[in-house]
Amino acid sequence: MTLTAAPPEARATHERTRPRKGWRYAATVAVFLLPSLVPLTLYTIVPMLGSLWTSLHEWDLITEMRWVGLGNYVELIGDPETHAAFLHTLYFIAGYLPLVYAGGLGLAMLLNRAPRSTGAGRSLLRGIYFLPVITSWVVVALMWKWLLNPASGIVNWTLGLFGVSGPGWWTDPDWAMPSIILASAWKDLGFVMIILLAGLQAIPREYQEAAMVDGATAWRRFRHITLPLLSPSTFFVVVISLINGFQVFDQVKIMTNGGPGGATQVVVSQIYDLTFRYGRAGAASALSWLLFAVVLIVTIIQIRGQRRWVTYG
């Protein structure tokens, strides 16, 4: 098939020595494919199907599984703890996404406007802003838990210098989620900035210049040129942030472990606790499929809805 352009005699030789069909070809395909397909089947596809099967049972991981059909799903959908877990996750997303997007966009615009002569400075700055992105969540969560320590943390000490008495941060039910949001936005700011900066640099300068000639104010240029032309990058950031936001776990586990008083119990912490604290593997599997369904629906809605606000070209 790939050889249609080759001279006939070459094709003939090729077909004689290397038959396209037959056992030898099948063996070649298998050798290339199986090193990936076998582990993928064993460690991703089988668990996926296993999870569906488990979700239809009541199971404490020790005794026999007991069939309950859709019982786990019905119970979870009516369970206030599930509602709370989804609400806390939404709270996280609602705080995190605007913060990281506004911060990332602001920084990207500041760096984009820097003159060409400061190219080295700009790349150093990009490197610094990207540092938290490559750092592990555990380290970031620990650093922020220490910075936001209510009694001996440096943030509250600094606030004290200005006569502000700092809150209890992760020890206070009202401030625990904002603490997690703050740490998360700090970690991902560089990632969002890099993506938006690339988007900004793809906007032809002529557009801005033409608008300036027409006397458009900075705000109007931002609103009617920058934002619409940046919308594909914005779309990417929103889709990725929502997918990751629904799965928030590491920072919650380290900073608050779902507390205080369940104030930061998110969906994945609930899945973890259902399995390993309450011995309810079936309910945990059902909840993880509910989470998958929600993420899938949200993503599909976004892809469908992008025509309304995403401008390509």
Binding site: T54, I128, V138
Partner: protein, 268 residues
């Protein structure tokens, strides 16, 4: 907006990014009780490496660092090999059901990790693999993301190159090794960096599957350290500092590459 204001904002931002790291280093060398002192001491007198010494007493820390390093390296190499080979099959070797199989790969890509960890834990337990190195590596041997990324790259290699090699009598293995792989080196490098970072930073799976300190990786070791009795912040920060250094060195060398590939991902 004035130039001065712009530099001030960007500079302040950079300070906010760097400060937590600097503070972690300072805390880690602050001697004993001074750690909890109010007001905090920005330049502690008599800096000491005592926290680092205690870190090594509490956990088999060097072993944990080595675990992270070799698990990260092994999982990166395994993913590179398995993904590049499968990507070659998907790009260059037509076979019945290829499209459907690729769709299966893409579906697994959309699966959130939390959906997989519980049944994967049960599977590992069934085979008596809980608390082993193999269990840490198993979910990272194959990567649907890698297959997807590398297939894109291989599709961009002109087929004339393969055909020329075929005329020279090369089979698929030689084409793969000597024609395709050298031409997709940038994609391989990107995937290697992200694969290593993902393994080095991974927390949820090790948390579930590993119990003994000797099999722990860094994130789990640090989290365990933090969870013990009252947290000794100087020791925890010492551990954090040590765990950041290797990835930081890697990053300094690969920075341009990492940032370029992230920047590109949003441009489609």
């Amino acid at each position: 907006m004035g130039k001065f204001l712009r530099y001030l904002l960007v500079g302040t931002g950079a300070l906010v990014m760097v400060f937590p790291f600097a503070w972690a280093v300072i805390t880690s060398v602050t001697p004993g009780e001074a750690v909890l002192a109010v007001p905090p001491d920005l330049t502690p007198e008599g800096a000491s490496l005592d926290a680092y010494a205690r870190l090594l007493e509490t956990l088999p820390f060097w072993r944990i660092v080595l675990n992270s390093a070799w698990i990260g390296a092994t999982s990166t190499v395994l993913q590179l090999v398995t993904s590049a080979m499968a990507a070659y099959a998907f790009a260059r070797l037509p076979f019945p059901g290829r499209g459907a199989l690729f769709a299966v790969y893409l579906t697994t890509l959309m699966m959130p990790l939390p959906v997989l960890v519980v049944p994967l834990f049960i599977e590992m337990r069934t085979f008596g693999l809980v608390d082993t190195y193999f269990a840490l590596l198993a979910p990272t041997i194959a990567s649907a993301f890698g297959v997807f990324l590398l297939r894109q790259a291989i599709n961009q290699v002109p087929r004339e190159f393969d055909e020329a090699a075929v005329l020279d009598g090369a089979g698929h293995f030689r084409i793969f090794l000597y024609v395709v792989l050298p031409l997709i080196r940038p994609a391989l490098a990107t995937f290697a960096i992200f694969g290593f970072m993902a393994s080095w930073n991974s927390y949820l799976w090790p948390l579930i599957i590993i119990k003994s300190p000797e099999f722990m990786t860094l994130p789990l070791g640090l989290a365990t350290l933090h969870g013990q009795f009252t947290t000794e912040w100087d020791v925890v920060m010492a551990g954090s500092v040590i765990s950041v250094v290797p990835i930081l060195i890697l990053y300094v060398f690969a920075q341009k590459h990492v940032i370029a590939s992230v920047a590109q991902s949003g441009l489609k």
